[in-house]
């Protein structure tokens, strides 16, 4: 019928116009009268003064250019970043989590900063582990911003009551101490050291302590190495440690919907917990009897390798590289990094390291394989599931690691 076809034609016309308008050329980048910086809310809550100082320094060097800092949150910032990449309206500086970098570097989302490396303070002394986060194919794409390691937060009063006079300096000593603490506090569900069964950040340190690893790249192809003898020895050590020291769920994780370790601690259900150093924020009524120490490795006197968390600062494509790099320089300057260190973080250079527990724990650290598809391994919970199966005994260590290695290889080697 004539009228129906007119109606349909009008609808198509509206849609076509909309498509044409949207695809006609990208939006032009604004002239350099301001730069946009994306930082996480950690900065807004934790060290707003350092941000202000960096802005002040930047504006002194570039009068007439304002800095627009926008605070993002971890759950949505990548979706937003992807949208800006599609529209051509990327920020000039973006804070990226260290595990988020590789995927975006491989996709070409960032500008090459290799030639500018010398302009960043202390770049010659960057922590090796932290510097590696921002390097891909030999080029520098991200400047290490700050790091954090894992420490043991403990109840000084309970340790004293259990007769522990010296802090343990080996895994065996720690296990024995945990057993003593449980014996002295026979409450149901009380842990000597609370560690969630599937807390892979803490558990995989054991693998690296015994010389193993998660995966290696052999002539371009990734191969899972969890089934190697050293890795399996580490997992066996983890299993016996967990069974002796922790009363957490074997398939529990260290975050919602399972209890947060610091909440377990604050409820008085654990004599110690392992986790980031900022756990001291939330110790409830045990604030005055809380201390921290470095988790020991299985060889006496060594440090258990801890997962080095942290962030990088990168310059997305389409941004004003010179101005962005300058702002990053100001925000990672020696004084700024010292400020970060004061707030309990690990600064990005060895010459700035202090002697806090957090920094000593970083002496031995481990990081995830820097593969393009590593985030898919994490999102697929392959490592968590493996730990759960080992701890519950549903699979032997050999079976669980072989299965995990197969999964990891197929995920990492996809095109």
């Amino acid at each position: 019928m004539k009228r129906r076809s007119i109606v349909a034609l009008c609808l198509v016309a509206v849609l076509a116009a909309a498509v044409a308008a949207a695809t006609s050329g990208a939006t032009k980048k604004a002239t350099a009268s301001s730069i946009t910086v994306w930082l996480q809310t950690d900065a807004q809550n934790g060290w707003p003064d350092l941000v202000a100082a960096a802005n002040k320094q930047f504006q002194a060097d570039h009068p007439g250019v304002s800095v627009n800092v926008q605070y993002q949150d971890w759950t949505t910032h990548l979706q937003k970043f992807d949208a800006t990449l599609a529209a051509g309206t990327t920020p000039d500086v973006i804070e990226m989590g260290n595990t988020e970098m590789t995927k975006y570097m491989a996709a070409g989302a960032f500008q090459d900063l290799t030639s500018l490396k010398g302009t960043f303070d202390n770049s010659a002394n960057w922590l090796k582990g932290a510097a590696a986060w921002g390097i891909y194919n030999g080029k520098l794409y991200g400047v290490p911003y700050y790091a954090g390691s894992r420490v043991i937060t403990y109840r000084t009063d309970l340790f004293k009551k259990a007769g522990i006079k010296k802090l343990p300096n080996s895994l065996a000593a720690l296990t024995a101490d945990a057993r003593k603490l449980i014996a002295k506090n026979p409450k149901k569900g009380f842990s000597g050291l609370y560690i969630a069964g599937e807390d892979w950040y803490s558990a995989l340190g054991f693998i690296y302590d015994y010389g193993g690893s998660i995966a290696v790249q052999v002539s371009g192809k990734w191969k899972g190495t969890l089934e190697s003898p050293k890795s399996m020895a580490g997992l066996a050590a983890y299993k016996s440690f967990f069974l002796a020291a922790s009363r957490a769920g074997k398939t529990a994780i260290e975050a919602s919907p399972n209890p947060n370790p610091y909440d377990v601690y604050a409820q008085g259900q654990a004599a110690s917990v392992i986790g980031p150093a900022w756990y001291t924020c939330c110790t409830g009524k045990y604030k005055s009897v809380t201390g921290q120490f470095v988790m020991p490795g299985h060889v006496p006197g060594t440090v258990m390798p801890g997962f080095l968390g942290g962030s990088d600062l990168a310059v997305p494509i389409g941004a004003n590289k010179a101005l962005a790099a300058d702002w990053i320089k100001d925000f990672t300057s020696t004084s700024s990094e010292r400020g970060l260190e004061q707030k309990g973080n690990i600064p990005n250079a060895t010459n700035l390291l202090g002697n806090s527990v957090n920094e000593r724990a970083a002496a031995r650290s481990w990081f995830v394989p820097q593969a393009k598809h590593w985030v898919d391994v994490e999102n697929g919970n392959i490592l968590r599931n493996m730990l759960g199966q080992i701890l519950t005994g549903n699979l032997t260590i050999k079976q669980a690691t072989v299965s995990a290695d197969d999964n990891i290889a197929s995920v990492l080697n996809q095109s």
């Binding site: 809310t41 926008q70 949150d73 939330c282 009524k285």
Partner: protein, 280 residues
């Protein structure tokens, strides 16, 4: 038992059931509000406490210390107010067309209205951002308003059409015969009968837009332009611990405007009930 006494007993029975339903439905909200008043030790304590034993206003103070609360409330009110007002008006017009006219292309329009709602929203974020960026509608309240309208319009059209169908056409014809003007019929007969439907749809549109998060987060950059739902997300977006007390207090604060809006319009639903005494 006299009949009056039996009726009163039955009424009490219904009221008791109503109260029981109220308690069960509202319990989670009660939990949220009481948590906002509990000190931290009570919130994380192993044994839950039904009532805050040592109530504190500290969390509310902490919540209000998060910057831009009042600006964000204002933004939310502007965005949601505009969305609801414009959408209900446009949807009403379209619903009239669907319910009262036969025109070709009608089925196509219905397909469009239903189809939009079936699209998973996750897939729309990136292209929508690209379109709005093209028209300089990113980081602008108008961009968010027009986005929300696109989500609110379909179900509003669909729901209002349903209510309109329930009103027989003959009513309007009969009133015309009796000599009223067209506008008089519209205002005195159609609108009052549609009032409950309009109110229910407006409340739904209001709440859906008020609580919408992901599009507001992606489209609005400056904290001074964001909505209060985005403001709320700052309490749980860090890589550190979440301040549950402050989050619950903040949520309680963000829920208040919604409740006020409802209390203002709810009389219209009750009014509609008595106006529905239409002689068949």
């Amino acid at each position: 038992m006299t009949r009056a006494r039996r009726r009163r007993l039955r009424q009490t029975g219904w009221n008791a059931l109503g109260l029981a339903v109220f308690v069960v439905m509202v319990f989670p909200v009660y939990w949220m509000v009481t948590t906002a008043f509990k000190p931290v030790t009570e919130i994380i304590s192993v044994t839950p406490s039904w009532f805050p034993l040592h109530p504190t206003l500290g969390h509310f103070r902490a919540a209000l210390r998060q910057p831009y609360f009042w600006e964000d409330v204002k933004n939310s009110l502007i965005i949601v107010g505009a969305t609801v007002a414009i959408s209900i008006a446009l949807a009403f017009l379209a619903a009239i067309a669907l319910a009262r006219y036969r025109f070709s292309g009608r089925k196509l329009f219905v397909v469009l209205v239903i189809g939009i709602q079936m699209l998973p929203q996750a897939g729309l974020i990136i292209p929508l951002y690209v379109v709005l960026a093209q028209y300089h509608q990113v980081n602008a309240l108008t961009g968010v308003i027009i986005t929300y309208m696109t989500f609110v319009l379909p179900f509003s059209v669909w729901t209002l059409r349903g209510f309109l169908i329930g009103i027989p056409k003959e009513l309007e014809e009969a009133a015309m015969v009796d000599g009223s003007t067209r506008l008089g019929v519209f205002v005195k007969i159609l609108l009052p009968l549609m009032a409950p439907g309009l109110v229910a749809t407006s409340v739904f549109a209001f709440i859906t837009s008020w609580n919408e998060y992901i599009f507001a987060r992606v489209l609005l950059n400056d904290q001074s332009k964001q909505t209060v739902t985005v403001w709320l997300s700052y309490f749980s977006g860090t890589s550190r611990n979440t301040d549950w007390g402050a989050l619950m207090a903040a949520s309680t604060l963000t829920a208040i405007p919604v409740v006020i809006f409802f209390l203002l319009v709810q009389r219209r639903i009750a009014f509609g009930l008595t106006a529905g005494a239409v002689k068949a």
